[in-house]
């Protein structure tokens, strides 16, 4: 009798433990720039991540466990990002980290991820080649695009759409990403249009607020096209400050790599004529996208998602999909599931390349136009380029996955 009682107790204890563990939340560290001039994008990415987490929990969580987000400010700064990531791993003991705005912060988090063997999914728009190139590591996956995917697509579009372009100037942020994009765009463009004149690029400090001294040097060269990857608040500030100097009247302005939609949604009717390339198209007709846009518009008072918000949203769902596919929270199994895996996203099905952990999404390029349905402009009839067509081949990335 006693033996039976003990056995029943043991079974009950086991059941309770298993049940409790099953209820233990999946902790995901969510890092974005929540402050500073680059914070415009990050704050919205954090909010849409919450929306995604709520939706996932409504659908029963991941393998029955609820998702808990730990949202942190990385200030788009590598030192802050390193400190915050380390704290998330050591003190908060998160299972995953997602996000990080900007390449410096992203690279920092990738380092921490590799050192402490925690999975990191870059969704904040850190597009430097290094992340899936020379500094690639086993624990880092890039859900957002690589810069090369954008500048190659941009060069293709510009060469075919504006055959009359003779002079090209640029104004870009002065760090790895800005230089990579400018150098990459101009060299790709020259391959397609050898007669193009490239004016020496103008570079501004990363979180610069005063562009007035730089504007004159660009306007004065009378370029046919000005290429810029000034993202988040920088792009907005630049457009506002450059407008009264007549920049957009004489030159075509190309605001590339996810900078355009932030400008459009923030500037409203202060917007000026320009073109751009984007990682998502919020007007796309698929169920996941429509659900995200509807939920976001409720939160934002009618404003559409911009820049990489769709990626922030999708990343949490990608985690859910891969974990449920491999039926485990084991890091190694998840890595295997992510490598080469195909996942549902608001822009259709997307595969993550095994060799460098780079996601193969889509690039949407076109002209910004006023939209009678809304208070702001939208990308009209964008050309859609699959990332596979413009990605650097594995041999050129420099990535040796350890």
């Amino acid at each position: 009798m006693r033996a039976v009682a003990i056995a029943i107790c043991l079974v009950l204890v086991c059941a309770v433990t298993v049940f409790a563990a099953g209820q233990e939340p999946v902790k995901i560290g969510v890092m974005y720039a929540l402050s500073g001039p680059l914070g415009v994008l990050g704050t919205d990415q954090a909010k849409v991540s919450k929306i995604a987490a709520d939706q996932i929990n409504k659908e029963g969580g991941i393998l029955g466990r609820p998702v808990e987000l730990l949202i942190r400010d990385d200030e788009a700064s590598p030192s802050t990002a390193a400190r915050v990531a380390r704290k998330l791993v050591l003190e908060d003991k998160v299972n995953f980290i997602v996000g990080a705005n900007g390449s410096p912060a992203g690279m920092s988090v990738a380092e921490v991820a590799s050192r402490f063997k925690t999975l990191y999914l870059s969704a904040g728009g850190a597009m430097t080649e290094l992340m899936t190139g020379k500094n690639c590591n086993r624990y880092t996956f890039r859900i957002n695009h690589s810069g090369a995917q954008f500048y190659r697509a941009d060069a293709t579009y510009v060469a075919s759409t504006f055959p009359d372009v003779k002079t090209v100037a640029g104004i870009n942020p002065d760090y790895s990403y800005g230089h990579e994009m400018w150098d990459g765009f101009t060299s790709e463009l020259k391959k397609k249009k050898p007669d193009v004149q490239v004016v020496p690029g103008v570079f501004v400090p990363m979180a610069e607020k005063d562009y007035t001294n730089y504007i004159a040097s660009v306007v004065d060269k009378k370029p046919d096209l000005v290429y810029s990857v000034l993202w988040s608040g920088s792009g907005v500030a630049f457009v506002k400050q450059a407008k009264p100097y007549g920049m957009f009247d004489k030159s075509r302005f190309f605001l590339a790599a996810a900078a355009l939609t932030t400008a459009m949604t923030t500037l409203g009717n202060d917007m000026v004529r320009m073109w751009g390339s984007e990682p998502e198209d919020w007007q796309m007709d698929n169920p996941m996208n429509k659900r995200m846009v509807t939920d976001w518009m409720k939160e934002s008072g009618g404003k559409p998602p911009h820049a990489y918000m769709g990626h922030s949203y999708a990343t949490l769902f990608i985690l859910k999909q891969v974990i449920e596919r491999v039926k485990s929270f084991d890091t190694e199994k998840i890595i295997a599931g992510l490598e080469g895996g195909t996942f549902d996203t608001p822009w259709g099905k997307m595969t993550i390349r095994k060799g460098d952990h780079q996601a193969m999404g889509k690039i949407f390029i076109g002209e910004a136009m006023p939209n009678p349905k809304y208070q702001f402009w939208t990308l009209s009839n964008p050309k859609v380029i699959p990332a596979e067509d413009v990605s650097l081949p594995m041999s050129e990335t420099g990535c040796v996955m350890k």
């Binding site: 700064s77 590598p78 030192s79 390193a82 410096p104 050192r115 500094n135």
Partner: protein, 329 residues
């Protein structure tokens, strides 16, 4: 009876403290080790600053220059020369010392307001140069991918510095050794001359002391130890960024020393512990820890000019504990 047990406790105190320091990382999760390491590095940085300020009266608002130079030097050595912590530390101290000699040579010729402004100017200049030298410092991206070295000493198991607990002991040993050296400097004739200069430069000159040479050497030594602190930062963070050279980083050792008490040798150490602990506690609850730090600092400047140690030393039972950090006359 009471006296004997009191003095027994007093003599036991350092051993208890040492014991606690040894057991600490083993008893607590990794996070607490990383917190302690932050305190050690900040303490060393502040001790180096206080050599200049508390003992020689030089208020530098640009001390981050040497901290940052030490950090970048160590990082570059580890990344490009050899994965040797000893080499990295040696190079950091050497380069910071030389940089401090150069900058100090210009700065110590001025006093008070002009000295302060000049240190601010150099601080900004070095920051901006560091920002421009992207090939060396990585610019806004910082230096990432720095290999964290291991130490192999004959006969001992390999010391893996990427392990937080191991690094705790490593940084504790280094900082303690540096503190001992600083203590020797401060108690030597050189230290006495510095204090004489602090109290009155004119009087020191009249006594025939070479004021400028003493101040320059003091400044350079402060730079050397700041560089060492910077070097210790590298394996801990695994990366170096321009933040190490920033004006706000220069403010940290100042805040920390004032908090702890600039007239006490271990004041900066106490200040460092308070600073890091307040920062961590407040950050978990609210975002605005600098606000509280500022308020604490205002209170300290207005009402506790001797810092926390100075305040505590007023109470008889604690006077002996503060005795380790005894006020130098």
């Amino acid at each position: 009876m009471k006296d004997r047990s009191a003095s027994f406790v007093r003599r036991l105190l350092p051993f208890l403290a040492a014991g606690a320091l040894v057991v600490y990382p083993l008893a607590l999760p990794r996070f607490y080790s990383s917190l302690a390491i932050e305190i050690f590095i900040m303490a060393l940085f502040a001790l180096s600053f206080n050599l200049m300020f508390g003992y020689a009266g030089m208020l530098s608002f640009g001390h981050a220059v040497f901290y940052g130079i030490g950090a970048y030097t160590a990082a570059l050595v580890l990344k490009h020369a050899a994965e040797s912590m000893a080499l990295a530390i040696a190079c950091s101290m050497a380069v910071s010392f030389v940089a401090a000699l150069v900058i100090g040579f210009i700065c110590v010729r001025f006093t008070r307001t002009y000295f302060i402004m000049l240190t601010v100017a150099f601080g900004e200049l070095v920051y901006v140069i560091g920002h421009r030298l992207v090939g060396v410092t990585g610019g806004d991206d910082g230096l990432v991918g720095i290999p964290i070295p291991q130490i192999s000493l004959p006969g001992l198991p390999v010391i893996d510095l990427s392990n937080m607990r191991v690094y705790y002991y490593f940084s504790l040993v280094i900082v303690a050794a540096a503190a001992v050296v600083l203590r020797i400097i401060v108690k030597s004739r050189f230290g006495h001359v510095l204090r004489a200069i602090r109290d009155s430069q004119q009087r020191a000159l009249f006594l025939g002391l070479n004021v400028r040479r003493h101040l320059l050497l003091c400044y350079a030594l402060a730079g050397l130890f700041a560089g060492l602190a910077g070097a210790l930062l590298v394996p801990f963070e695994g990366m170096v960024s321009l933040e190490t050279l920033h004006f706000s980083t220069s403010g940290n050792p100042i805040i920390v020393s004032i908090l702890g008490g600039t007239q006490f040798f271990l004041g900066p150490v106490v200040g460092a512990a308070i600073f890091i602990l307040v920062k961590d506690t407040v950050q978990n609850v609210a975002e605005f820890w600098m606000l509280w730090m500022g308020i604490i600092l205002v209170a300290t400047v207005m009402f506790l000019p001797g810092g926390v140690v100075g305040f505590v030393a007023r109470f008889k039972p604690f006077r002996s504990a503060a005795g380790i950090a005894k006020k130098e006359e």
